[in-house]
Amino acid sequence: MKAEPTTLLQGTLDLLILRSLVAGEKHGLGISRRIQQITSGTFVVKPGSLFPALHRMEEEGWISSLWGDSENNRRAKYYRLTKAGTKQLEAETARWGRISWAIAQALEAS
């Protein structure tokens, strides 16, 4: 039963990345910092899990990437939500809502 938590976690990470891109395109570090910010520091995404997730999501067609200049004029790769990504975000959000509601129920019952 190792797969369950992984998929859950993976789903979580996807959701967070998608969520962080709603406000506009960001580079990897930007996404990482934004997630940190919106989860009040609960999640710190390390490059070792961030980049594989970004590339996988790009291959899925949820996000697209382009090279641009950072605020300090450094070349950086920016990611932005695609239409499919927006849809995916809605689906993930709904799913997450159901899961968290179910877990909350489970914890309250006893």
């Binding site: 580079h27 070792g48 996988r56 291959e59």
Partner: protein, 886 residues
Amino acid sequence: MPLVVKTRSFLRNLFSMRRKEADLDQEVRSHLELLTEENIRGGMRPEDARREAQMEVGGVEQVKEQVREIQIGNWIRTLISDCRYGLRTLWKSPGFAAVAILTLALGIGANTAIFSVVYAVLLKPLPYANPNQLFNVFQAKPQDGDPVDGWSYKNFEELLEQDQVFGGLAGNQHHQLTMTGHGEPTVVNTSVVTPQLFSVFDEKPLKGRTFFPQDGQQGAQPVVVLSENLWRGYFGADPSIIGSSINLDMRPFTVIGVMPAAFRFPLLTASEQVWIPLVQDPLFGPWMNRRLGHWLTVTGRLKPGVSRKQAQAELDAISVRLAKEFPEANQGWTIGMTPLQQDITGNAKAPLLVLLGAVGLVLLIACANIANLLLTRATSRSKEIAVRATFGAGRARIIRQLLAETAVLGLLGGVAGIALAYWGVQGLSSLLPASLPRVNAIRVDGLVLGFALLLSAIASCAFGLAPALFAANSDLQASLREGGGRSGESRNRRRVRSFLAAGEIVLAMVLLVAAGLLLRSFSKLTSVRPGFDAQHIVKADISLPQFQYSKPQQWIAFADEFLARLQAQAGMQDSAVAVPRPIADACATLQFDIVGAPALSAGASRTADFESVSPNYFHVMEIPLLSGRLFDPRDVMSAPAVTVISKELARRYFPNQDPLGKQLFFGFAYDKGVAREIVGVVGDVRDEGLGQNPGPMMYVPFDQLPLWGANLVVKSSMSVGGVATAIREQVQAIDKDLPVTDVAKMPDIIDTSVAQPRFRTFLLGLFAAMALVLAATGIFGVISYSVSRRTNEIGVRVALGASRGTILRMILRETLALAFVGLAVGLPCALVASHLVGHLLFDVSANDPATLAGVALTLGVVAALAGYLPARRAMRVDPIVALRYE
């Protein structure tokens, strides 16, 4: 939609790998820079900021690897890197690579080339709509050994009327007519058909129309359908051809249609031809109102959903009814059907399958050879593999890598083999006998390529798997301790190697015996005397238009005048007319009766091959007179009817009697009721072909009983061209519209008649030679490897006083033991194989002891030679050098 996106990503990963890699590298590095900057902004010193950033990232390469692992199509990358590694290792041992690739290329090339022939001739569906519904429907007489025969038109009409199972049935016959009116007179292949033919084949014309039922009625206007190639080649693709008139045998026919070039019927004749309704044919048309005779070939298309069994039952019922209603024509005859494809390719099947089997064996030997080479390499690489295993490479991973290497080998060999096959098919097509059906369809096409690739994949598995398994199974500690291995090789592996080498000898023996038998058979076939002297004989055909020359008297008049003119020319004295000529023409086998002989039992008959010849025929062909006299110019219509018989006819039908003076009745329409006196007996002639024993023959004077046409034989020391010119001049002096065709040297005709046996003998010989060379290299490889493994053992022996002779004997004994095992197992296998080719042999027994002994001796000598070279090296081993390496 997601599938499209994923496919696109997959392709991008695959094809812009380098760009993606650079991109990834830059992305991770820029992340590092951004982090560093952030840290500096947070107040760190630059070097601390960088270190902190690096710690957070955790290693640029690791992150990249983690990204790579999730990318779509990652397994392909592994495969590619395995293959790349394989290529590199091959590149590092070019000798091994060259030998292995060449061996494989030979095997795959030969197989592909032969497969392309087998596919085109045997497997490719016939080029008609739903070809598996097409059948040849025939009459046969089981009590005469089931000779398959055609129909009379009257019987065919009966079949048409009664049949319920065929959607269509069409009769056809084929011969040649003279076409005039458009430039040079020419002879055109003519299919004489009933009007249903095109609808049975379900073919539409390119222009105009095909036959209507009324075109087949008595008294209909003569119409003709041209083939596209004739229309283009002879009429310059004249668009107004439909409705115009052409002359066939001096009679005008209206062109009603042109069939597309893709439609070929019959399949075997040239693509320039015409189709005419049977009723218009000068030759067979008049036979339409007869019930006797079997001359019409019938092709039918089964109705959809009717099984062959149902159809046969229906045909059986019809044959019973026919026998009851028309007993004189149908008593004893049955009706059968064979698929048209089988009918067309029947004779070619067995020899081609033998060739395919033979070439398959060559590939097996090639694979055994490469497996042996790979085993040798795996042994010397055992340390490398052990190191990989110690560093955690799993068994599956090692096997996968080794298999990838052999796959690279297989692919390279396959590609080289396909190149060889292209070249080979071109070579083959000049070698192929013209009588082989559907030769023109032979090519290396997609399917053949697929076959070659599949074959190389199977071959790679065959020669790659065993070595890979062995390598992956090897004992780690032992391999590492041996330090790349010098003295010891596992017993198992050595056994496998010897097994492979002995197996190669077995296979080579099978091939050599088969090839040896065919070779002996072929040399006997070509040295057999045909019964006449073919040297300096030239043959030529003069077709007489059948409307103009419709009476036998006209044929005689033409032949007499023509021969008189021709014989007056210098160098052309020895010319004669003969119809049909031995080997060059199809035999005419006729029934006859002997005057005064007891009647034969029902169903039995006396038959002989019939030939109508001018008086000096026997002199020209040098057929010896054994008793009595030959024909002379006085044997004309008004003189007493005479015949000359062959020795075999005398032996068979006049045992212990003098045939001279006896009289024969011929079962031949023009000669009904004429008793012919036997005036002479001549030597036997193999008129059917060199491979057939001479049958009984009877000759009649052309001037008494001519056959249509003037088929010429000339004995002349002039060139073929000179003879042809002389003939043309004399023919055209008589009638300028007569074409002279098929001028050829008789030895060439005989040569062509053995084209099929020559073809298979040559190819099987070639394959056997390849097998011999491959097996020899196999033995050489095994023995020389064994010698190099045993260098220090040999050194010790020499140091202890073993003489060079002893060493030589030791190595040779090893070789000969291998050869002996191979021969012992090979002999029974070869005998099985030789019985498979038994029916292709002429005058040689399938267990011909001379061939078997010769092959065994050859293999033994070759094996000894292959072992002698390494043995000589062993003899020269210097004990000091050998022992120092220990």
